[in-house]
Symmetry: C2
Subunit: 332 residues, 2 copies
DNA sequence: CTGAAAGCGCTTACAG
DNA sequence: CTGAAAGCGCTTACAG
């Protein structure tokens, strides 16, 4: 490793050809005889040639606040598939990981090493967003925590419709005392799902009762605590709609602790349809967000922005759908 | 977007300075007056300057066969944290995603756009591995499916010890009819965990019974089926050790279907300690693999290889540890 | 703190 | 199919 960097001239000399010929081989252009090409390729390998300058990166950056569960994973899968099909790689960044992710990303952008950025969840700090816009870098927001400036194309899920369909399903089964464990109230998706729940209740002629609404943090522990509070009430709800699958699992555990069988004595509905939803016992009825498709769509939109194509739809809301499994049943 | 690429000369002209000055600003070097720096930075932003050549990539590639569950996610988190702390970004690749990931990766490597590669799980096809070695690219294997050539530094988990400690735990609780649902037999980790199970049985003076060993695919469905077969036996086991957490959840579902309560009538132990293990009902007793640390270690090793430092330990096995939760109890 | 000059690694016409 | 030459975008001494 103390050796000098291998350059094209070194390869050319060793192969007894000119530098342009080596360049042609490297870039897979024709106009090189098979024999020459082979010899040069051999040398390239042997000496471990690595280009000094990258010319066009064919890379996009994805930034998450942090990676906590399958939610991010599903997005990554969708983005990776779409990007990879287009021949571009993805760089994944985490804002709260300790390193100076923002600085690195900006440096990469400045250095022309990446072509665009997908900002997932609440991931764009204001500082970062202004930096991005001043750099003229194509940006797409994926499932933003709060409304994003109109200039940034946004991909979202139909949260309102999802919250409504979950609640309608429970209503249709005959439930009347339906509790909800909502997500953090500062996130847009939490509020929207809660609105969907209220709308369904209204339509069903069931009065909205604020005391049946708990707030969690989209995590297991907060939902376990909220579930316990709900199940310990005298007028215990017969169904609980949790604002994400992980919180639904918290409700499962609360029910197990209170020896309340699901779905016989308690119906539970989640939101997301992460892979774990179907691995729960009983398999979880939940509102499916097409996370992977959302990621794929965001990547596609970003890539066309990178190509300089005008964006037709600046805001896309992708359909959610109820997946009925075994955690819901008519009230006992 | 039809505009010409913005070059440094354009910026220099607009700012009324020389090209070297712009270069200094771009690279954050000193020897530029604050006023000049500011003016140049403003222009850089305004015109959306993006470098034509990247010089040093500060990027590493991680390749997985595919991304299926939290297993990959945990590795990614560990790798991302370590890489990010060192100021380098990570590119995540998926081999079975449809796109030509191998080709892209190789192109990126050739183009000098990435500095090294982490091959996770069974992800290195032979073709890829030879290509990598002929390119002289630093490579580290993470949790390889099969023994890797001695030249590639490898990070692994103590699978044997893990399988043994899971089984010893059950033995210690008084179980004698302990079944195992092993992973796919062609994977090294599957065989090693099974060996650990056998070793513990031997030490405990309990005869190994091949009929109590089922083989799954590390997925939910195969474990559900295997669990059902096991639970439908006349001499039903009192405990089942599943070779990964996802398969343990399959056993949970099998037990639910047969109305066998966990842990009262059946103890279950998993392997991995993915986040979902503690979100199961009851929370799952499992063998913890330090997935994140393994990823971090692999990234660190790769980075020092990239720096040209000699590698001290070519093979590292990281400790596994039993995490006792609520899915295990003495047999009834 | 700044720029003219030389240089680097590579690519692009062009000529043969 | 190949190379001499010009050129590109950038960086690196060096001089002031």
């Amino acid at each position: 490793m103390t050796s000098e960097r291998v350059t094209m001239v070194a390869i050319a000399q060793a192969a007894g050809v000119s530098v342009p010929t080596v360049s042609r081989v490297l870039n897979g252009r024709d106009g090189v005889s098979p024999r020459t090409r082979e010899r040069v390729e051999g040398l390239l390998r042997e000496r471990g040639y690595r280009a000094r300058h990258a010319q066009h990166s064919a890379l996009i950056d994805v930034v998450f606040p942090e990676i906590t569960c399958a939610w991010e994973t599903e997005h990554i899968r969708g983005i990776e598939a779409a990007a990879s099909a287009a021949g571009v790689g993805i760089v994944v960044n985490t804002l709260w990981g300790g390193g100076d992710a923002t600085g690195q990303l900006l440096r990469r952008l400045r250095g022309g090493r990446t072509d665009g950025v997908i900002l997932a969840a609440q991931s764009g700090t204001d500082a970062m967003r202004t930096a991005l816009s001043s750099l003229n870098v194509p940006v797409v927001a994926l499932d933003p925590a709060s409304p994003v400036s109109a200039e940034i194309p946004t991909v979202d899920a139909a949260n309102w419709a999802g919250g409504r369909s979950a609640t309608r399903h429970l209503l249709g089964l005959g439930h009347r005392r339906i509790a909800m464990i909502a997500g953090a109230p500062n996130l847009r998706c939490s509020r929207t799902r809660l609105d969907g729940y209220r709308a369904a209740l209204d339509e069903g002629g069931v009065a909205y009762r604020p005391d049946l609404v708990e707030h969690g943090n989209f995590d297991f522990g907060s939902a376990l605590a909220a579930g316990l509070r709900l199940l310990d009430r005298a007028d215990r709800p017969t169904a609980i709609f949790a604002s994400c699958d992980r919180m639904a699992l918290g409700v499962y555990e609360a029910a197990r602790r209170r020896r309340i069988p699901i779905p016989e004595r308690l119906s539970v509905v989640g939101f997301d349809d992460l892979p774990g939803a179907s691995w729960a016992s009983p398999p979880l009825t939940t509102v499916r967000q097409p996370l992977r498709d959302m990621g794929g769509y965001a990547a596609g939109a970003l890539l066309s922005l990178v190509r300089g194509e005008p964006l037709t739809t600046p805001y896309v809301e992708m359909t959610t759908s109820l997946v009925i499994r075994e955690s819901t049943a008519p009230p006992h």
